[in-house]
Amino acid sequence: MRKSTSAEAVLFPHTRQRVLATLLLHSKKEWYLSELARTLEAAPAHLHRELALFCEAGILRRRVEGRQVYYSADPQCPYLAELSALVRKTMGIDIVLAQALKSLGPRILCAFIYGSIAKRQESSGSDVDLMVVGDVTIADLLPALAHAERDLGRSVNPTVYPRKELVQKVRSGNHFVRAVLADPAKTFIIGTRHDLEKAAHGRADKKAQDQQVRARRASRRRRS
């Protein structure tokens, strides 16, 4: 595998990038350690060291309330705006897209970044390859993506599949779809790897399936 040469990898180690992106791009939120550890799937001890360094540097601030310690972006930091802009364009691409796609939430089963950015092999001019599975069209995504493109300073190339078409493509052995699904380098924005597997292999959500069965039974009862 090619060694990562992305700008953010040169600037900061991986965990430091994730801490910075999460705290700066949710600038109004205060995080406690275990919550951040759960979100970033990282060891609390490791995060604690990073948070302490950022607080010492004046980029984050720490607030103690009872037995809980909260961390957030420090608005007094004189270069917070510039740092946030850098984070948005490099290490926070997934967070920017998640915020942009939030309004379409229930119509999207899963959305993820694939390609060079997910592999962390992007250059400064790389586009963001985004795959969306759900009941949306490119036109539905356009306002959200236009907003994200402005923030990111990069083009976003969406590939949209309704669930049914994704299942068909997987079953027919479509090369592109199979290659994207098999590639472990994906950054999930909506849903999880498990949701994608379920959608791709035509296994509907259990709750949705139960609801459909109940609706069918009720309709049969009404007819009889």
């Binding site: 069209t137 490119i138 036109a139 356009l142 993506l145 190339n157 599949y161 309704p162 078409e165």
Partner: protein
């Protein structure tokens, strides 16, 4: 058509003429064309990817959608020509 009626001609030799066409569309036809211009700009990038990188980034749903959008654009441009450049409008028999 819209660009030609507005008095412009795309220079295909200087490159990027497809992008220029979609960028120029709302400037000629007005803000009503902005959404469609942005949509076709995404499609233009997708076509580029299909031609040079990978063919399957377009889905059946994308193909169905673009047919509807093209019809929408055709109606918009024809109406604009009739209103603003009546002498150039094609008379239907």
């Amino acid at each position: 058509m819209a660009l030609a009626c507005a008095g412009y001609r795309l220079d295909s030799k200087s490159g990027g003429h497809h992008k220029t066409a979609f960028d120029a569309l709302p400037l000629c036809v007005g803000p009503a064309a902005q959404k469609l211009a942005s949509y076709f700009e995404v499609c233009r990038r997708k076509r580029n990817e299909i031609d040079y990188d990978r063919a399957d980034v377009a889905s059946r749903a994308d193909a169905d959608e673009i047919v509807n959008r093209v019809e929408e654009l055709q109606t918009l441009v024809e109406d604009w020509i009739k209103t603003n450049h009546g002498s150039l409008a094609k008379s239907r028999k």
